[in-house]
């Protein structure tokens, strides 16, 4: 059952947990980009979600309230981005980068008095006897509710984008804002909604880090997860189910490298530590080699601001 001293069942179970933050953030960013907005501030929104969720959970004593607080925190920061890019029509790339730096600083300020505090614990959702079932138990039944919610959200986003009128409008705005505007849709309002949704999911992902995975608050806790989420969106070519695969792949490599160390593997630690980032670069190179933008499935109006002339 073991490969090189590593039990695949446990590995899969832990990669599902490790992937939740990047999966949620990538899913949010996917919707934002589908609406034609490139928000590079995912890292900033995640860490705002992490601290807002942490503060809410500590004061309310409820992890659920914490996740709601995290989502609100991420969404609030994303509205700053929305105001600057959609109302003031500033450059999206520059604004997004600034948003990350702002979020890191602000979260550090807000978290001053929260070092070393324990948040309320988020337990497993299902009763213990289900987790005892071999193989299926740890992988399918052994998680907390956020893991299931993240997968449900993937399905929901996929269905909304593919099969509903709302999804059609979001995609129309992202592909050609001029055409959507001509049809009478309010481009900037729809984009504002997409940005806020992206911010909320990034915040939710951040809250998962500070409330479940660590669970503690410390400056810079997201440690670059937001950038991996951005890479996953491109890796997934803007398709929700592929984002799930991408997130599990990246999360899996992170978990695997620590497990290989613990199992006494002879591969040098440094190679293992950089492997997730190497895979990111590799994937991006392969995805973009010799194919046009259309094949990559990128929204045609991605990163372009819209100003109604008529």
């Amino acid at each position: 059952m073991d490969f090189g001293g590593i039990n695949p069942v446990i590995l899969i179970a832990s990669l599902m947990v490790a992937s939740v933050p990047i999966l949620l953030a990538a899913l949010g960013e996917l919707v934002t980009e589908k609406a034609g907005v490139l928000n590079l501030g995912v890292e900033g929104m995640m860490i705002m979600g992490a601290i807002c969720g942490f503060i809410t959970a500590v004061h309310s004593g409820s992890p659920v309230a914490g996740f709601v607080g995290g989502a609100l925190g991420g969404a609030a920061l994303s509205l700053v981005f929305a105001f600057v890019t959609q109302v003031l029509l500033a450059n999206q790339v520059a604004t997004g980068l600034a948003l990350t730096l702002f979020g890191l600083g602000l979260s550090s300020l807000m978290g001053q008095n929260y070092n070393g505090i324990k948040p309320p614990l988020t337990g497993a959702l299902l009763p213990g006897f289900l987790r005892e079932i071999p193989v299926v138990g740890p992988i399918i039944f052994g998680h907390d509710w956020m893991v299931y919610l993240s997968i449900l959200l993937v399905a929901a986003v996929w269905w909304v984008l593919k099969a509903t009128r709302l999804g059609l409008i979001i995609r129309a705005v992202g592909e050609s804002h001029e055409a959507a505007h001509a049809l009478g849709y309010r481009v900037r309002l729809i984009r504002l909604g997409a940005i806020a949704f992206g911010g909320a999911l990034a915040g939710l992902g951040g809250a998962y880090i500070s409330l479940v995975r660590v669970p503690q608050w410390v400056d810079g806790i997201t440690a670059g997860a937001g950038w991996i989420a951005l890479a996953i969106v491109v890796f997934a070519s803007w398709k929700p189910w592929r984002a799930l695969i991408g997130a599990y792949l990246f999360g899996g490599i992170t978990v695997l490298q620590l497990n290989l160390q613990a199992a006494g593997s002879r591969i040098p630690v440094e190679y293992l530590s950089m492997s997730p980032y190497l895979v990111t670069i590799l994937v991006l190179v392969i995805m973009s080699s010799g194919r046009g933008r259309a094949a990559l499935n990128a929204p045609a109006a991605l990163g372009q601001n819209f100003h109604a002339t008529r």
């Binding site: 070092n115 440690a223 613990a262």
Partner: protein, 363 residues
């Protein structure tokens, strides 16, 4: 008129010189500054240093002024912070992490009147640099004894920060003590390459637990490994590191190593105040009170507790040295002969695993 001014200036100059002379003999007020590698709320290493700083304040009241800076990254930033402190009127600066070794010596060269105290390092390139350290490995031997007796899977784990001698001492002492009470024990080491990154420390602990490890010792600064062990619901135990971490009592935290810096800080600042300060190199352990073993909880059986306390007391009495031969290195070559104990020089430069530990030390 001119002559009078000149005289007055000369008199003032003399007065200043007299004051300078008095400074060498003793000081009325000392500004003691501390540089921390993590936040004071880390619940571990930095928290404990800060407790020492607070003890200094308490001991001397108005005669000392405390200043500190948290989360100072090692490297170029540290030099900037140290320079700032020296310019800002600090009389004595405690740099509390191994990584500040070179910045401390570099800045000390520029400010010969300021005293520098570097924790856990070995470089004293200037007369105003002193070093101080604690024999943490003695505490590791106590933890190893508990680990060897408590493990059910015969797999114990260690989260390493950086492969520096201090950490190597800890890993080897932990393993040797566990092996002594349980010949079947296996040790897994995970290198986190950080002193303080709770996410990474938690992931490292989780990886160890996934590998079947049921006793985890951490050489990083936060409580995250214990938080991760707590999720296992009693199946996994660990130890408080640097601080007592009593929030995780009685399990998973079954004991702890407490770094007790307060007596040293109080003594050094006191020496500066009364003019007896001299450059020094202090390396005390359990016997000297710098390393305290935190309360061993009822989560371990009485005989385990007794065995661990015996190791602690024997080390304090000087009848037991955690590194007593015969010990071979990982590659099979001889290190210590039968009955020999490790000289301090070997410990301060330790860069190898002892025989029986698998895996490579990252470079």
């Amino acid at each position: 008129m001119l002559r009078r001014t000149l005289l007055a200036t000369a008199a003032a100059g003399l007065g200043l010189m007299a004051a300078g002379g008095a400074m060498a003999a003793g000081m009325d007020k000392v500004k003691a500054c501390f540089v921390y590698v993590g936040p004071i709320g880390d619940g571990g290493w930095t928290y404990q240093h800060h407790q020492g700083a607070l003890a200094v304040q308490e001991a001397y009241g108005d005669k000392v002024e405390i200043q500190y800076q948290e989360s100072v990254p090692v490297g170029a930033d540290a030099e900037r912070v140290l320079t700032q402190m020296a310019l800002g009127g600090c009389n004595i600066i405690f740099t509390t992490s191994f990584g500040y070794m070179d910045p401390t010596n570099a800045v000390a060269a520029k400010f010969p009147d300021v005293k520098f105290e570097h924790a856990t390092g070995f470089k004293r390139e200037h007369p105003n640099v002193s070093t101080y350290n604690a024999r943490f490995y003695e505490g590791r031997a106590v933890q190893g004894t508990i680990a060897g007796m408590m493990t059910k899977s015969n797999k114990i784990g260690y989260i390493g920060s950086f492969p520096i001698p201090e950490v190597m001492n800890g890993i080897n002492a932990y393993y040797l003590a566990a092996k002594k009470v349980n010949p079947n024990v296996e040790l897994s080491v995970v290198w986190a390459f950080t002193w303080f990154d709770p996410a990474k420390e938690a992931d490292s602990a989780k990886a160890l637990i996934d590998q079947g490890v049921d006793v985890i010792a951490a050489h990083t600064d936060s409580t995250a490994p214990l938080a991760e062990a707590a999720k296992a619901g009693g199946a996994v135990i660990g130890f408080g590191q640097a601080s007592d971490m009593e929030a995780y009592k009685p399990s998973p935290r079954v004991s702890s190593i407490i770094d007790n810096w307060a007596p040293y800080y109080v003594e050094r600042v006191g020496a500066l105040l009364d003019g007896t300060y001299e450059q020094s190199d202090v390396w005390a352990g359990i016997a000297g009170g710098e390393v305290l073993i935190g309360d061993i909880t009822d989560a371990v059986p009485a005989e385990v507790k007794a065995a661990a306390e015996k190791v602690r007391d024997d080390i304090a009495a000087g009848t037991l040295h955690p590194f007593t031969g015969p010990i071979k290195k990982q590659d099979g070559s001889d290190w210590l002969a039968e009955g020999a104990t490790a000289p301090d020089g070997d410990l301060l430069g330790m860069n190898f695993y002892v025989e029986g530990i698998t895996g490579d030390i990252p470079k």
